[in-house]
């Protein structure tokens, strides 16, 4: 190899390295959340300062990681340079002091442009935390899809065939799906006389489709058509009868694919004044149940049982005439539902969590050996989860989320369908 050809080769490699480095930088820039705000701030700075030199100081008053600051500086310097402002040393007469700040709603980047005794300001707003990627945890990923929004408080919702059944505080409304979206088909007043309790979450039930549909609201019981048809017929009456916890003659897939469990319809007495089931169920399942808020049937490899959330906050599993504690359910609020995802053991529990937060979340759990183990990352619901219910096919969950919608100022209720995909 001659020196000249060697040089050419080195040059080619250098060019290649530069191209690759440039490509990486472009790729990084394209995916960086800081590129656009840096450009916007640089533009405002340039409009104030004009071409020249300035000493750039960056101060971080936000929760942006210090690791990110060099990248932000690089973007700012590059964008200022593109606008004929050269970042210089401390000796410069002009100073650009950029503070990466934030308030509880958003990030705020403030540039103080100091020219002699005069200081002028430029500010830009950024959405807070938008750059955080969602972690993939466990064997499945939960996804939600909004299917209906209303300003009326929704206590429960269920999609049955082409119909959407909404239980509201004073009425049951059936919507039919059409090419134009949901169209109201039937509205039946419940005849509710008592005011709803503050926490109306458990005051409803909607047995799975195919076996009749019903709803209970504070001392009222409503029964719908045995099979969903175009002509819904719903009748409501005052009732303190025990509520149906499990549908009659329902068949659920067990943890083993070939195992089916025949379930006897189970009813539970409900304290409508104080929002909980008393613990008395009929027929008896052999174990003395404590008062509880929520109960779901959970098939297991060795049979099945009733998973319930006691009013003392303890999650218990009743099977074989015994009541056993479930561990790892400390983060659960009182609502949960089963989801037949087909991932991992097959059936998961999806529980709403974090009543402390502004936005609730849903998370799937596996329950081997009576220990709740997270099977998914939390799915943030952008509001308060007020109810969740397993869909008739067990493959999805219907969730009611209370949201405050801006700019309409109105509180809205969104019905979401939550599904799972295996990781």
């Amino acid at each position: 190899m001659t020196p000249r050809s060697g040089l050419r080769r080195v040059s080619k490699i250098a060019v290649l390295i530069l191209l690759v480095a440039g490509w990486f930088r472009s790729a990084a820039a394209a995916s960086s959340p800081w590129e656009q705000p840096a450009a916007a701030l640089a533009e405002q700075i340039a409009a104030i300062l004009g071409p020249g030199q300035a000493h750039l100081i960056i101060r971080n008053n936000s929760q942006i990681s210090t690791d990110e600051i060099p990248a932000i500086r690089a973007f700012l310097e590059q964008d200022l340079k593109a606008r004929s402002i050269q970042a210089s040393g401390a000796e410069s007469a002009n100073i650009i002091r950029v503070t990466l700040s934030e308030n509880f709603r958003e990030r705020l980047w403030v540039a103080e442009i100091v020219e002699g005794n005069e200081t002028r300001l430029a500010m830009i707003r950024l959405q807070a935390g938008a750059e955080q990627p969602q972690a993939m945890i466990g064997g499945l990923t939960l996804r939600n899809q909004s299917i209906f929004t209303t300003i009326q408080p929704v206590l429960a919702a269920l999609e049955i065939g082409n119909d959407l059944v909404l239980v509201e505080s004073e009425e049951i409304v059936i919507y039919a799906h059409s090419t134009d979206g949901w169209k109201q088909q039937t509205l039946v007043g419940i005849g509710q006389r008592k005011p709803l309790p503050r926490d109306p979450g458990p005051l409803f039930y909607l047995p799975r489709a195919g076996q009749g549909s019903g709803a209970g609201v504070a001392g009222m019981s409503c029964q719908g058509a045995t099979q969903p048809t175009k002509d819904w017929s719903i009748h409501c009456r005052e009732s303190d009868d025990p509520w149906l916890l499990t549908p009659p003659q329902s068949t659920q897939r067990g943890a083993s694919a070939d195992m089916n469990i025949q379930l006897t319809p189970l009813r539970a007495f409900y304290n409508s004044a104080r929002d909980y089931f008393t613990g008395v169920v009929t027929p008896s399942i052999g174990a003395d149940l404590p008062p509880f808020y929520t109960a779901v049937l959970l098939p297991r490899s060795d049979g099945g049982g009733l998973l319930l959330n006691g009013i003392d906050g303890k999650v218990m599993f009743a099977e074989g005439g015994a009541l056993k504690p479930v561990t790892g359910a400390r983060d659960w609020v009182s609502d949960f539902a089963t989801l037949d995802s087909g991932c991992g053991p097959g059936i998961q529990i999806v529980a709403s969590g974090s009543g402390e937060a502004i936005a609730d979340s849903l998370r799937a759990y596996d329950l081997p050996a009576l220990e709740a183990i997270p099977a998914s990352a939390p799915l943030t619901m952008d509001g308060t989860v007020t109810a969740l219910w397993t869909a008739p096919d067990n493959k999805s969950i219907f969730v009611v989320v209370r949201k405050t919608a801006a700019p309409a100022h109105a509180e809205t209720y969104e019905v979401d369908r939550v599904t799972a995909s295996c990781n």
Partner: protein
């Protein structure tokens, strides 16, 4: 700053026995003790339990429906129409209607209301104003504008409202509030709240420690002491602004003297010594958590410049008045020392003193975490009625800068509101202004009532 909020929230979370995450139990009586008058405006705890507003503030800091279900503005925010929630009743059974709302709000602010006129139109209340009120929904969420049944009850000590609790009686220094079974928001979990009033802080803490009280007050300056005594403390983010209101008449008509006063105060000493590092030093009217630009207002003391601005001649004797209790008195004494260091001749007097007041040390409630309504309510409370339109952060900064450059209001510290909480209290949250939201509180030992 946000880290501090996060820590506050963490304290709150740790403080709550919320580990048993379950639906709350109904029943029981919560025993609360307060040092002041729970009916006072703004921020009186009893007011917040008995009376509702047309709107309320969401945790995100936006106005959300309360007694009004929806609203719209017209004519560039000169006209607002609020539609009332149907089916709401006052505690005595009277239906809430638009004329009742007009009567209540007229009784509250009369000619000093932010709007020019107000009319009942069907099931709506219409507000009109000569100047636009961009933040009216947020303003109406303020404590001053809660709705009481006009002409019934005693509006100052036993108002009739639509809130989750209703006044039942007052005896032996204890106000009894009972659950409103027909509350439009749903019955509260508690059966009753007993509120012992005018109880000294020391006695409150003693009662909490021996189980005679469930919720007691913890002044910011005693939060450290409360932690030392192992009280479970729930604290709000910054909720009270401590500021000097400066007269622009008399000796302080000279703006340079007012500027010199602003530069003389040692905020760090106030925070460290008097308020035990529980305050957030500020030279801005709004906390950093709300605006993000508070750092643009320097908080440093500059005695040299203060001397320079004051000039050679010493002004005549200035009077500094104080609103509030012992800690505020101590703070005022400290400020007087600072001002003497800068060459001012100053005496501290009680707020009720008849003589001319040059400076007043005051507390202002942060009523919103949206910057526009928050700033507007502080300015209104300070008697500086400057309209604050919906604006960008730059525009808001300019308005605040303009006000502060007059040096008629000198922000010093932001303080949290805090409470000591007993072990059986569950799900206690504080609203944005630091008021406990007792309607959602339940007691862990409440005995579920048997269904008849």
């Amino acid at each position: 700053m946000l880290r501090q909020v996060a820590i506050s929230c963490l304290i709150a979370a740790l403080a709550l026995p919320a580990l048993a995450r379950t639906r709350p139990h109904y029943g029981g009586t919560l025993r609360v003790e307060v040092e002041g008058d729970p009916w006072q405006r703004p921020g009186g705890l009893a007011r917040s339990l008995v009376l509702d507003g047309l709107t309320t503030m969401s945790p995100e800091g936006t106005a959300q429906p309360a007694l009004a279900v929806e609203w719209k503005s017209e004519n560039d925010d000169h006209r607002w129409q609020f539609r009332l929630r149907p089916g709401v009743h006052f505690h005595d059974g009277t239906s809430l209607n638009s004329s009742g709302v007009v009567a209540s709000l007229t009784a509250v602010c009369g000619a000093a209301c932010p709007w020019t006129a107000m009319h009942a139109v069907g099931s709506s209340v219409v507000f009109t104003s000569d100047s636009p009120i961009a933040n009216l929904p947020e303003l109406l969420a303020g404590d001053d504008y809660r709705i009481a049944l006009a002409g019934a009850g005693n509006p100052e000590t036993a108002p009739i409202g639509t809130g989750p609790f209703q006044f039942k009686g007052f005896s032996n220094g204890v106000i009894t509030l009972a659950a409103n079974d027909n509350c439009w928001q749903g019955r509260p979990f508690l059966d009753a709240v007993e509120m012992r009033i005018h109880r000294p802080i020391r006695d409150q803490w003693l009662d909490l420690s021996v189980g005679r009280a469930d919720l007691v007050e913890v002044p910011a300056e005693q939060m450290r002491q409360a932690h030392d005594q192992r009280l479970t403390v729930v604290a709000s983010p910054p909720a009270l602004l401590l500021a000097l209101a400066v007269s622009d008449t008399g000796a302080l008509a000279n703006p340079n003297l007012r500027a010199a006063i602003a530069l003389s105060v040692d905020r760090s000493a106030l925070s460290n010594v008097i308020f035990q590092k529980q305050g957030e030093i500020t030279a801005s009217l709004l906390p950093a958590e709300v605006t993000g630009y508070a750092f643009l207002f320097p908080t440093d003391r500059d005695l040299g410049k203060a001397h320079e601005l004051r000039g050679g001649a010493a002004p005549p004797l200035l009077t500094l008045a104080v609103e509030g209790g012992a800690a505020m008195q101590l703070a005022a004494q400290r400020i007087a020392l600072n001002l003497r260091d800068a060459g001012f001749n100053i005496q501290v007097a009680a707020a009720a003193t008849p003589q001319h007041i040059d400076l007043t040390l005051r507390r202002f409630q942060l009523e919103s975490n949206q910057p526009q309504p928050a700033l507007e309510s502080i300015l209104r409370a300070a008697g500086l009625a400057v309209p604050v339109p919906q604006s960008t952060p730059e525009e808001l900064y300019k308005i605040e800068r303009q006000v502060l450059d007059t040096h008629m209001l000198i922000p010093l510290l932001y303080l949290p509101r805090a409470y000591g909480v007993g072990g059986r209290v569950r799900d206690l949250r504080l609203s944005l202004d630091g008021t406990p939201q007792l309607a959602n509180v339940s007691l862990s030992d409440a005995q579920p009532e048997v269904t008849p």
